[in-house]
């Protein structure tokens, strides 16, 4: 149990997807203009990451790694389908995003409209695929990868909501015109990243 809490805290704060690894920046910069839409996108990302990481883990362990196919017939023991990994993972992610889109459209049409194009674009949000790829390099088991997915999603949620809140306030400040909007969002993200790097020394 302690291990799982460690993985959650680590993936959400110490190894934050956005502020430490800079994954998923495009939607992060584009959807962070108001807190309301940021909350919606953040929640959607938590769900998609929390589902795709364990599902991709199950697929990888049972179909892709070398020797995984031996449950079909012993002659397949040396077959490794790992080169197909990327295509399969992205398929799972696309299916999950499609699901989220249908659920949001049904239960919260106003959020659906405000997210617009960025809902389907979760498919190409690098933090989702990054979650799966990091889970593989870190060699987590099924439960750990579920916690890792939820933690990374929570980290994304935290980062995008904070940036949205700062951008709502900073709209009235006196910033040089060429730096307004996108440029300032970059600088703020950098400062937030510096703050989060302060957590790096923590041993978990």
């Amino acid at each position: 149990m302690g291990d799982l809490i460690n993985i959650f805290v680590k993936s959400a704060f110490v190894e934050n997807m956005i502020l430490i690894y800079f994954l998923g920046m495009c939607s992060y910069l584009a959807v962070s203009k108001s807190v309301k839409t940021a909350l919606g996108l953040g929640a959607a990302v938590i769900f998609v990451l929390g589902v795709t990481a364990p599902v991709n883990w199950i697929i990888r362990e049972n179909l892709l790694v070398e020797g995984a196919l031996s449950w079909i017939s012993p002659s397949l023991e040396n077959v490794s389908l790992e080169f197909l990994g990327l295509i399969i993972y992205i398929g799972v992610i696309a299916a999950m995003v499609q699901l989220v889109e249908m659920v949001i459209e049904k239960f919260s049409p106003s959020l659906y409209l405000s997210l617009g194009i960025f809902l389907p674009l979760i498919t190409v949000n690098c933090s989702i695929l990054g979650g799966t790829l990091f889970m593989i390099t870190k060699e987590y088991n099924l439960v750990e990868s579920l916690v890792f997915g939820l933690g990374s999603g929570f980290g994304f949620f935290l980062a995008i909501v904070s940036l949205a809140a700062i951008r709502e306030k900073i709209r009235y400040s006196n910033i040089p015109a060429p730096l307004r909007g996108l440029g300032m969002a970059f600088i703020i993200t950098g400062l937030m990243g510096l703050a989060f790097m302060g957590l790096m020394g923590i041993k978990l």
């Binding site: 910069l29 990327l86 933090s127 695929l129 015109a177 440029g183």
Partner: protein
């Protein structure tokens, strides 16, 4: 198709319509892999190849793809190309592919590729689409190279492994021995990925103050 148009397809994404600083596409990988020039160069070439050839493929297929499943078709084409690039890197430059780790796989979710497919290749002929892909890939590579150069030069005092600053540099050339080059201290911030986000922020600032049309009021 006139000659001017062809040229514009390549040159426009280099500055006025740069994928990273203007279209905000493909920012993620630009920030993470620019620690040194070699990484930036490999990543730039890989993305240029994938963008160009996925644009070419999708553009030649565009009249046969049903609208409903177009995202899946695009993803499969991109994923296949990225897999090819990844395997080629593993075969010919294993160390680099280890260093770039997950970021090669993440080209699939690089918004530049998907964004150009949606915005250009779905509505244009194969040849212009191919050129558009090359142009945007080069625009991306240009930003990566600028950031990579600044970070490597000030972070470690060297360029492509050749030392310029610091105590090791020029220690056998007497008149440079005690000058400016010798007094340089390595900048720890530049080694960290966080530096690239500030550098890109400043690039945006410079670019927009030169080109007032890009300034957004909101």
């Amino acid at each position: 198709m006139s000659d001017v148009n062809t040229k514009k397809l390549i040159t426009d994404p280099l500055s006025d319509n740069n994928p990273i600083t203007v279209q905000i596409l493909g920012v993620c990988s630009a920030l993470a892999v620019t620690g040194n020039i070699a990484n930036a160069l490999v990543m730039g070439v890989a993305v240029t190849l994938v963008t160009a050839f996925s644009n070419l493929t999708i553009s030649s297929l565009r009249n046969y793809i049903p609208g409903r499943i177009r995202l899946i078709v695009q993803l499969v084409v991109i994923a296949a190309l990225v897999t090819l690039v990844g395997e080629a890197l593993k075969a010919f430059a294993y160390d680099l592919s280890k260093e770039l780790s997950v970021y090669i796989g993440l080209i699939i979710t690089n918004c530049i590729v998907m964004g150009r497919l949606e915005a250009f290749a779905m509505g244009n002929k194969p040849l212009p689409s191919f050129l558009d892909g090359i142009g945007n890939g080069l625009g991306y590579a240009a930003i990566l190279l600028i950031v990579g150069t600044i970070r490597e030069l000030f972070g470690t005092g060297s360029l492509l492994g050749f030392t310029f600053f610091g105590e090791e540099a020029f220690h056998n050339i007497s008149f440079l021995k005690h000058g400016f080059f010798h007094a340089f201290f390595h900048n720890g911030l530049m080694v960290l990925p966080i530096a690239s986000i500030f550098i890109i922020g400043i690039i945006i600032w410079i670019q927009r103050s030169k080109n007032q049309e890009l300034v957004d009021i909101s």
